[in-house]
């Protein structure tokens, strides 16, 4: 819906992430193109979620910069950051639905805060967003009254409430059965294709990665930096890094020194 201004929607430049003096990852540089479904992958504990938190501005980088549409996010003023954040939709690992509010109130909250819609228009849009994720009619339910998979989808409905340009997902299919996980993947692809949004997700579900990702970065826990990036389907067979090929082929890598990354499970 929005006209592309630059091809690079998000640029990460020489990013170093650290908790105090403990460096988690250093020298990360990669671009997320507009309309990409970008996956941040890597073994457990390599800093995937931490990278996502840096991109969301929840943690401050030790060094380096993150640019959205070419403008720095790290150095931006609080107001500028809020303006950039308003173009995002975020779905957290455990959903992050406000448990004291019904689904309708959850989805309506960003609309009430940031749009001039009247309450009846908001109700219409909420109905549409919930229908999109297959939860039509669940407006008056509380997050505790629906299943985990439905909570994930409800979180997606809240994330897309403001028609975001970028959608962030932290482990979208963690804790879902293969069928629900597949349906969620399909939903993400459909939404991406019909809205043209850029999708950034952290996951280590190989099925998801191959089904939907168009671009990716692999963070290595041992060397504490990114060791490869590109289309995961290409990396699976052609990556120069043995660890990346093992990860994507789910082999236990007898020749590798590092521990085999797990194919699934929660972090």
């Amino acid at each position: 819906m929005s006209t592309p201004t630059t091809d690079q929607h998000i640029s990460v430049r020489e990013l170093t992430m650290a908790y105090g003096s403990f460096v988690i990852q250093r020298d990360l540089s990669f671009d997320v193109r507009r309309g990409d479904i970008f996956v941040i992958m890597g073994g457990s504990g390599c800093g995937k979620s931490t990278l996502l938190k840096h991109m969301l501005g929840l943690l401050a980088p030790a060094a380096g910069d993150i640019l959205y549409d070419g403008s720095s996010f790290v150095g931006a003023s609080a107001q500028a950051r809020d303006a950039i954040r308003r173009t995002w939709g975020i779905s957290y690992q455990t959903g992050g639905m406000f448990s004291a509010m019904t689904l309708a109130e959850n989805v309506a909250l960003p609309l009430q805060l940031y749009t001039p819609y009247s309450s009846s228009e908001i109700a219409d849009i909420v109905a549409y967003k919930l229908a999109l994720v297959g939860l039509a009619g669940y407006q008056e339910y509380y997050p505790s009254e629906i299943s985990g998979g439905m909570n994930k989808r409800a979180a997606l409905a809240r994330a897309i409430a403001l028609d975001p340009e970028i959608l962030f997902f932290d482990e979208p299919s963690a804790g879902l059965d293969p069928i629900s996980s597949r349906l969620l993947d399909d939903l993400i692809v459909e939404l991406q294709q019909s809205t043209g949004a850029t999708v950034v997700m952290v996951t280590h579900e190989l099925a998801s990665i191959f089904a939907i990702a168009t671009n990716s970065v692999y963070l290595d826990a041992a060397s504490r930096t990114m060791i490869d990036h590109g289309d995961p389907r290409y990396l699976r067979d052609h990556s120069e890094q043995a660890v990346v090929r093992q990860f994507l082929n789910r082999s236990n890598g007898a020749e590798a020194k590092t521990e085999p990354p797990r194919g699934s499970g929660n972090e």
Partner: protein
């Protein structure tokens, strides 16, 4: 952004079909379309099939999609065929995605009138539920206690020490403040009345008896209900929300033994000690006020000595043990029975404090009547 407003036009084509032509920019912030008007016009035409023509649509966002979904739902409800054609790229896909799953029909819920919450019958029933709940909880705790005494309980001594520290030393600051002030308040209250008879010196008796039998222990209990009782409810409630209590249960450990007993025993140990401390500071507070009214410290001390009997002290201590039990039961029960959301944790904490304070006041009145009749 284009300036054109969103608009629609219904054209009655033949008996069967009506054409809905959409035009303009359907974006956030533009003028909005009156859906009631659309419904009205559609009913006037009453077709069997609604064709949608969207090639005149400029920019669009969720505003358009919400309108289309409403049209679809209306057609669905009234048995019309909804035939979208030439919608913007993306919009057609989103619409088919949004309509892929049949809307869920939530079961009709019984609407509760707010007045009914004032109904004395319903109210007493609710109080009855809390009471029986508390009683059965006390029963469970008693069983756990019996198991502890026989050495079968999974209660950890470390936990007990930890909660003793939280309920004891950590509470001394606030207990100091409240008990000194309550002693002073009592002294003022009595001094003004006793002055009329020239009997100021008996302020010491009044403060000593008042603090030992009543105010020292009651204030301590109220503070501990707000401080520790609410904390217990919040801790256990959060554990319930995080499925920690489920984890404990499935490990074969009784949550009562593992979580409730150490908290309750800690409070049972700390409350009498805190009460003794509060009694002492309360009398000191009374002494400060008495000093200000011309009673020498020596006079105050000797008068206090006369008034101070073991009976008064024991009344306070007996009360403190009972109050500790009530606070722990109110707090832990609210926490263990907590729902599984963040709102429920807040409600549990509130319930813990409210029930604890009600229990305290009622029990205090009861004990006073009892002790009066046995002349203790």
């Amino acid at each position: 952004m284009s300036e054109s407003h969103p608009g629609f036009e219904l054209v009655h084509q033949n008996d069967e079909e009506t054409l809905l032509t959409l035009s303009g920019a359907w974006v956030r912030g533009s003028a909005t379309v009156d859906f009631a008007e659309f419904t009205h016009e559609l009913h006037a035409a009453s077709p069997k099939r609604l064709l949608v023509e969207g090639s005149g649509i400029g920019e669009w966002d969720s505003t358009l999609m919400a309108f289309l979904l409403q049209c679809y739902n209306l057609c669905h409800e009234e048995g019309l065929e909804f035939a979208p054609g030439k919608l913007p790229e993306g919009a057609a896909k989103l619409l088919s995605l949004a309509t892929a799953v049949e809307a869920h029909q939530p079961p009709a819920e019984q609407q509760e009138n707010w007045l009914s919450s004032l109904n004395p019958l319903a109210l007493s029933r609710r109080i009855g539920v809390v009471l029986t709940d508390s009683l059965s909880f006390t029963g469970e705790v008693s069983i756990a206690l019996a198991r502890l005494v026989t050495g079968k309980a999974n209660t950890r001594f470390v936990d007990f020490l930890h909660f003793c520290y939280q309920a004891g030393p950590n509470a001394i600051g606030i207990i100091s403040l409240t008990s000194v002030l309550v002693g002073m308040i009592l002294a003022y209250l009595g001094a003004v009345q006793l002055q009329q008879f020239g009997a100021e010196v008996y302020v010491a008796n009044l403060v000593t008896i008042g603090i030992l039998r009543e105010m020292g222990v009651l204030m301590t209990a109220v503070v501990m209900a707000g401080r520790t009782g609410a904390a217990y409810a919040a801790q256990l409630g959060t554990m319930q929300t995080n499925e920690e209590i489920d984890a404990i249960t499935t490990l074969g450990i009784s949550p009562i033994e593992f979580l409730v007993l150490p908290r309750m025993l800690a409070l049972l140990v700390c409350m009498p000690l805190l009460t003794l401390y509060a009694d002492l500071l309360g009398i000191v507070g009374g002494g400060i006020v008495a000093g200000g009214m011309g009673i020498s410290p020596l006079q105050f001390i000797s008068q206090t000595e006369q008034a101070l009997t073991l009976n008064h002290l024991f009344v306070g201590l007996i009360k403190s043990v009972l109050f500790a039990l009530l606070i722990a039961v109110a707090g832990c029960r609210a926490g263990i029975n907590c729902g599984r959301s963040s709102a429920a944790v807040g409600m549990a904490a509130t319930e813990a404090v409210v029930t604890a304070i009600v229990y305290l006041i009622v029990a205090d009145a009861g004990i006073n009547i009892l002790f009066q009749s046995i002349r203790l």
